[in-house]
């Protein structure tokens, strides 16, 4: 680790790039689907964050055998398996909500939805 260099930290650089890019898309885009894509990329970066340090080059699964002495840590993989399921469920629910929003508002652009809500709010205020 001490010698540094881009290649040595390659996985970390990719992880951080995906993390920041995903979060940026979530914040900067007004389209509900694009936001979900960003959210997915953001979550995916976490999978890398967990899995990459768990892998040792030349390491195998931790099975007791006289032929192997170097093992990779299997626990991060198991954790991320769970995290992937969570990510898929979140994405599915988000897309389902986007579909329902499209059905009721007729749009998936955040500014148009806000405008529609404000119009309803103004009408309510005018009535009272």
């Amino acid at each position: 680790m001490s010698s540094g260099g881009v290649l040595e930290h390659f996985t970390y650089i990719v992880t951080v790039f995906l993390m920041v890019a995903g979060l940026y898309v979530v914040i900067a885009r007004g389209n509900l689907i694009k936001k979900l894509v960003g959210l997915s990329v953001f979550q995916t970066s976490v999978y890398l964050l967990y899995i990459a340090p768990g892998k040792l080059i030349g390491g195998t699964a931790p099975i007791l055998s006289p032929h192997y002495t170097v093992y990779s840590n299997p626990l991060p993989h198991v954790l991320i398996l769970t995290a992937i399921v969570v990510g898929v469920a979140t994405l599915a629910l988000g897309l389902a909500l986007a579909v329902r929003i499209k059905e009721t508002y007729g749009s998936i652009e955040e500014d148009e939805i806000t405008a529609a809500d404000n119009a309803v709010q103004d009408a309510e205020d005018a009535r009272s």
Binding site: L32, G94, I101
Partner: protein, 500 residues
């Protein structure tokens, strides 16, 4: 096999089982029975665990008999058992109430799904509280969050959909931040068990990954608990969700997140790191004050009663985090007591508002939004409902004789103990804002003439009874504090001692 021995597992498994059962049975009435039975069983289990903690101190349960730190450990101490009681108790009261209310708010063919989601949400919240494993917290956090998004989206107003979507985005960012933080901690310590982690962290405490982990976990959990500038998802979510869902979430979801923050700050990272080497208490103090003033101030100008009390929730969370920022036994006691007292008062208020809007609905029609123009003179039509809201509102203000007074009393004691007398003034001043928003309801409901002369038309007993049970609880815990303050003080002493 001894049943008592397995109470920690049953605490989560029973409500978790009730959810898929409700989906498989596909019938509203049966689903209601199954999930309510699950919630009541969870409540009974929580009482059992509370008693057991009194006898043995800390219960450590090894899932599948795998010894920690390798296996997942369920760990129940005084704080956990106290929060479990709050969550399971609220669910046990809200679920029977919700039967009559969702009849008018949710299409009948979706009822069984509503109950299934409620069961999942409950199981998730209980799981977060009981587990002693950092990654397990994330899994339960997502179980409860995903169920919560669905429950909010079931609201009748179309804005419920956008509220649920926004909460989904914010909540997922929060949960992902949390899991990034846990990832760093795992890299540094090689363990996920919270107790084990706390021990191993002492050697690497001030290294940069640990500080990054602390930052990610704090911000992520703060998003979920709606700490002041991160509360944007909360008002719309509470306003447009079905009444029963609002009541349940207001009493439990944010409170469980506060529990997670307390757990990480005091049990895992430890007080020396949080309170002595980093400026975290100052930051938390400022954000809490901002919440107490800004959110309460915004609440005064709301036209929708549900939204008014949603902003009030953000302000009240400020009092809880203020108690945390003192780093003293009395401060933490105040925080934990207020967590409980505010939970029951807010659940009571949102249940009563739910009864109110059902009373406003046309026969067979859907309940309208509780805007102030519709509430004029309503106290004559629904005296018991309105009176209940006023009493629970007094608890939000902190009037002596209500539970809210007790928590503010301990908060003021903690402020004086810390030598910060100006904070006493700030707490009292912000209570004036609470008087202002509660008074708005009193003025409209009691002193404004009703638009049409309507006779007394009180909400049905099934709606009144659970809500009034909570109102009476607010009064009870304002007079007899041996349970609430006793548990909170014991939990606070334990946390501060362990961390120090």
């Amino acid at each position: 096999m001894n049943l008592v021995e397995h109470l920690p597992a049953l605490q989560v498994v029973l409500p978790l089982l009730s959810a898929p059962l409700a989906v498989l049975l596909r019938h509203g009435g049966i689903a209601f029975a199954v999930v309510t039975a699950g919630a009541w069983a969870a409540f009974a289990t929580a009482i059992g665990l509370w008693l057991q903690v009194g006898e043995v101190g800390v219960i450590s349960y090894h899932i599948g008999s795998w010894a920690p730190p390798w296996g997942i450990e369920y760990r129940v101490d005084r704080l956990a058992s106290f929060v479990l009681l709050l969550v399971a108790g609220t669910a046990a009261i809200v679920l029977p109430w919700s039967r009559a209310s969702i009849e008018r708010e949710i299409p009948r063919e979706l009822h069984y799904l509503y109950y299934a989601m409620f069961g999942l949400c409950l199981a998730g919240l209980l799981g977060i509280t009981i587990t002693g494993d950092a990654f397990n917290i994330f899994v339960f956090l997502e179980i409860s969050s995903l169920a919560t998004y669905v429950l909010i989206a079931l609201g009748r107003d179309r804005r419920a959909l956008t509220a649920a979507y926004r909460y989904l985005i914010m909540g997922t960012i929060g949960a992902t931040f949390y899991v990034i933080g846990v990832g760093f901690l795992y890299l540094m310590t090689g363990t996920l068990n919270l107790v084990d982690m706390a021990e191993r962290l002492r050697d690497v405490e001030s290294s940069r990954p640990v500080l990054v982990a602390l930052a990610f976990i704090t911000v992520g959990v703060s998003l979920k608990l709606a700490l002041f500038p991160l509360h944007q998802w909360l008002p719309n979510a509470y306003t447009y969700a079905p009444s029963a869902v609002t009541a349940f979430l207001a009493a439990t979801a944010t409170k469980v997140s506060i529990y997670v923050l307390i757990r990480f700050w005091f049990s895992v990272f430890g007080e020396t790191l949080i309170f002595e080497r980093l400026p975290l208490p100052e930051i938390l103090l400022l954000l809490s004050l901002a919440a107490m003033f800004a959110a309460s101030f915004i609440a005064i100008f709301q036209d929708n009663l549900k939204r008014l009390f949603a902003y009030s929730s953000v302000g009240q969370i400020g009092y809880i985090t203020l108690g945390m920022s003192f780093d003293s036994v009395s401060g933490l006691t105040a925080a934990i007591v207020h967590l409980f007292n505010h939970g029951i008062a807010k659940a009571a208020i949102f249940l009563l508002i739910g009864g109110l809007v059902l009373g406003l609905a046309k026969p067979g029609g859907a309940p309208p939004a509780p805007t102030f123009d519709r509430l004029a003179g309503l106290a004559r039509r629904m005296p018991l409902t309105c009176f209940g809201i006023v009493i629970a509102g007094l608890s939000l203000i902190g009037v002596p004789g209500t539970a809210g007074f007790i928590s503010k009393w301990y908060l003021i004691l903690a402020a004086m103990e810390a030598g910060q007398f100006w904070l006493v003034g700030a707490i009292l001043l912000s209570s004036l804002l609470a008087i202002a928003y509660v008074w708005r309801f009193v003025e409209v409901a009691y002193f404004r003439p009703a638009p049409e002369a309507a006779g007394r038309q009180e909400a049905s007993l099934g709606l009144l009874l659970p809500a009034w049970l909570l109102v009476i609880a607010t009064l009870w815990f304002g007079l007899d504090t041996s349970f609430s303050v006793g548990s909170a003080a014991e939990a606070a002493r334990f946390l501060v001692k362990v961390g120090g």
